[in-house]
């Protein structure tokens, strides 16, 4: 794993190094950079030294978190820019992923269960459509329909500038507060669902979970009324209002992959003998579907879902470009197009770190979810 990561760093450096001409020659052409920045960058990357030294310097710098100034947004460094953009991408896409995973899993489950019916064929075709839909086109159409024609949601951007004109807060400050709230909310809900896992009756369990969900919403209403937060509420609402359309669009596109995969694995599982046994025992249809079949089918779905996180980063480039959402994807596209090499390099390497962590999580969760692997490693 570590070796792979180092290889990745080396490849990403060589890739930028291979850009014809001197990739850093932009420095000389940019009048907004003062001379000291120029010298610092040359010293930092060792640009006057041979390749092996440059490579070594880059890797050391990466771990130090010191990747030099951005050429275009000069006083900011590459790391500062990433620190500003990363939470926005993370927030948007974690919300989308959770939504997409649950809807996708549910739809796939129902599809496999109703195999052969007319509704199954149609829903499958619809999900294939949304799985293969040309994403920028779809996003533009959504933008046109909901933003321009209906006027329900704002067309792109992170916030409405006139509302923030005399705001006492920085937008990042408010946004971090929102992230904190989201994390706390989902953690509490997660704990509740784990605690209610053992309840036998399915309807009772569902009622408890729904009840606690609405309870949490009521509590969070109080939470946003306390202290500084009551002033922030207005601005947080503005940001939340801007997230609606991107979240909706990406969810519609992203759920289909999970749904189709769940359908396939579930169909395989439904052929197994223990499902027949469960039927023969006279268990209710819903219990067989949710407790017996779906849990086994969940395993490959979760794994492949974590593997698609890299794909999600790919998708974020498009989403953020079309909805003008200032996140990592837009940063990397901008910096590559305008040859802001330090930022492009830093972003690319960071995405690699992301993917690495995702793969590691995939391995761990596989062991956690599949008892067969756990038992093997213990004995």
């Amino acid at each position: 794993m570590v070796v792979v990561f180092f290889l990745f760093l080396i490849i990403s450096y060589l890739l930028f190094d291979a850009i014809p001409g001197n990739a850093f020659q932009n420095l000389l052409l940019n009048p907004s950079l003062p001379p000291y920045a120029y010298e610092e960058t040359i010293a930092l990357y060792g640009l006057d030294q041979p390749l092996s030294v440059r490579l070594q310097k880059y890797i050391v710098n990466f771990f130090k978190g010191d990747l030099g100034y951005s050429y275009i947004q000069f006083p900011k460094t590459a790391i500062e820019l990433i620190g500003e953009r990363l939470p926005r991408t993370l927030m948007l896409f974690s919300v989308v992923n959770i939504l997409a995973f649950y809807t996708g899993f549910f739809v796939g489950k129902v599809l496999a269960w109703r195999r052969g019916s007319k509704s199954e064929t149609w829903i499958t075709i619809t999900s294939v459509f949304s799985y293969t839909v040309f994403y920028p086109w779809f996003a533009l159409l959504m933008l046109w329909f909901f933003g321009l024609k209906m006027g329900w949601v704002p067309i792109g951007k992170f916030l409405t500038p006139n509302k923030w004109y005399d705001s006492p807060f920085d937008s990042d400050e408010v946004f971090l507060e929102m992230i904190k709230y989201m994390v706390i909310f989902s953690l509490i809900y997660f704990v509740i669902s784990i605690l209610t896992k053992e309840i036998e009756s399915l309807t009772q369990r569902r009622n408890i979970r729904l009840g606690s969900f609405f309870g949490l919403i009521v509590i969070s209403n109080f939470y946003w009324n306390t202290g500084v937060l009551s002033d922030m509420r207005f601005y947080a609402g503005d940001i939340a209002y801007h997230t609606i359309l991107p979240v909706l669009t990406v969810t519609v596109v992203a759920f289909a992959g999970t749904a189709l995969l769940t359908r396939t694995t579930m169909m395989e599982v439904l052929k197994d003998d223990y499902i027949l046994t469960a039927r023969a025992k006279g268990l209710s249809q819903k219990r067989i579907r949710d407790r017996h079949a779906a849990r086994t089918a969940l395993l490959p779905v979760v794994t492949s879902f974590i593997f698609t996180i890299v794909t999600i980063i790919d998708g974020s480039v498009l989403t953020e470009t079309i909805f003008s959402w200032p996140g990592m994807g837009q940063l990397i596209l901008d910096s590559v197009l305008r040859e802001d090499i330090p930022v492009a390099m830093a972003t690319f390497s960071f995405i690699g770190v992301f993917a690495l962590i995702a793969h590691f999580l995939a391995d761990v969760s596989y062991a956690f979810l599949d008892p067969r692997i756990r038992i093997k490693s213990q004995g």
Partner: protein, 359 residues
């Protein structure tokens, strides 16, 4: 004599198995649907050169990149003022000027001395669909249907080329990893881990920053990255299952060389899975090409992504359905062709994976 008989027997068995598999494939409705879609686009792609060659289509009018044609109409000059709507003639501000009218502000600079009520000749670009241009023309007076055909040629060439390259690489490496094991296997697995880690789109951005990407370059790049990535792992696991089958052992005992075992015993058994991967990777390749040309990072004359990009840059997408012939066909074509290949893959999956069959 005996050998010839054996060969014809073998051929018969092959034809039979293809027939049987096709019958299985026919059972899945979605597979047939996908095949029909793919054939329609293939027909479109082949039709355009045919039309040009037989001079049914004039290149000057219908060429997807440099052709020009615009619809001429006689329009009455009116003036649209900033007054309160509805007026007796127009309901909303966007109704003025109407279809056969033109605003005086728009034509006055080019026609000195023009006044309200005059009738002048106007060129309409983009022109709506007519019998001459089935899907109308775009903002530069080019035939949209012809562009659509050109785009499907690009999509087919790119999709199939990258899929063949990718599947060739991954099948070869996957079987090698399974057959030889040990260090080779470990190395290949680490390599595909690394490739899986690379974010494709940003990587393509960077490559396009220092190289002029043409379609076949992109096909090669996509093929190589697709071929080195996750599919090696899947094909290796399939080849491992084949490797332990008795017929491989008996081939080894009878003195078959490594190459012989690899090519004539293991590869044919991995081939169905490889075909499946090929079909699925076409979907991804078509989408990647469209995205890159949509963002303007691909050196290409005409493609579906570029059509949408032009429509967006000229602001027709935000006009919505008023200019539907610029907005809908290109995006729908990408979606349908990618979806068609995906559906074919699903149908093949039902054939090759017995656990998915209904009976």
């Amino acid at each position: 004599m005996n050998e010839i008989n054996e060969k014809s027997e073998l051929r018969k068995i092959r034809i039979q198995s293809i027939k049987r598999n096709f019958n299985l494939f026919k059972q899945s409705k979605i597979g047939i649907l996908g095949l029909v879609i793919v054939f329609i686009f293939g027909f479109l792609a082949l039709l355009q050169p045919f039309l040009f060659m037989t001079n049914i289509w004039d290149e000057a009018t219908y060429h997807p990149v440099v052709g020009y044609d615009s619809q001429k109409i006689l329009a009455t000059v009116v003036s649209c003022k900033d007054i309160e709507y509805p007026t007796p003639e127009y309901k909303t501000p966007s109704d003025c000027p109407a279809a056969d009218e033109v605003n005086i502000v728009a034509v006055a600079p080019y026609n000195p001395g023009i006044k309200e009520g005059d009738v002048i000749e106007q060129f309409i670009q983009p022109a709506p669909p007519s019998s001459k241009h089935i899907l109308g023309t775009d903002s530069l007076g080019r035939d949209v249907f012809s562009q659509l055909m050109e785009g499907s040629q690009v999509a087919f060439v790119l999709g199939l080329l990258s899929a063949i390259v990718g599947v060739g690489i991954s099948t070869l490496l996957g079987t090698i990893a399974a057959y030889f094991g040990g260090t080779v296997d470990a190395y290949l697995m680490r390599q595909s881990d690394l490739v899986l880690m690379l974010p494709t789109l940003p990587l393509l951005f960077i490559i396009s920053a220092f190289a002029e990407l043409k379609v076949w370059h992109l096909a090669l790049v996509l093929g190589i990255f697709g071929g080195l990535g996750g599919s090696v792992i899947t094909i290796k696991s399939q080849a491992l299952q084949v490797k332990v089958k008795p017929f491989v052992d008996s081939a080894r005992i009878t003195g078959g060389s490594r190459m012989k075992i690899l090519t004539s015993h293991i590869l044919p058994n991995v081939a169905p899975l490889a075909l499946l991967y090929m079909v699925f990777s076409v979907t991804g390749a078509i989408a990647s090409e469209s995205i890159l040309s949509f963002l303007g990072l691909l050196n290409i004359d005409m493609s579906w992504g570029l059509m949408i990009s032009v429509a967006q840059a000229d602001g027709y997408i935000n006009q919505g359905m008023e200019y539907w012939w610029l907005v809908i066909p290109a995006g729908l074509a990408v979606t349908l062709l990618a979806g068609g290949f995906y559906l074919v893959g699903r149908g093949l999956d039902d054939v090759f994976n017995p656990r998915l069959r209904r009976r």
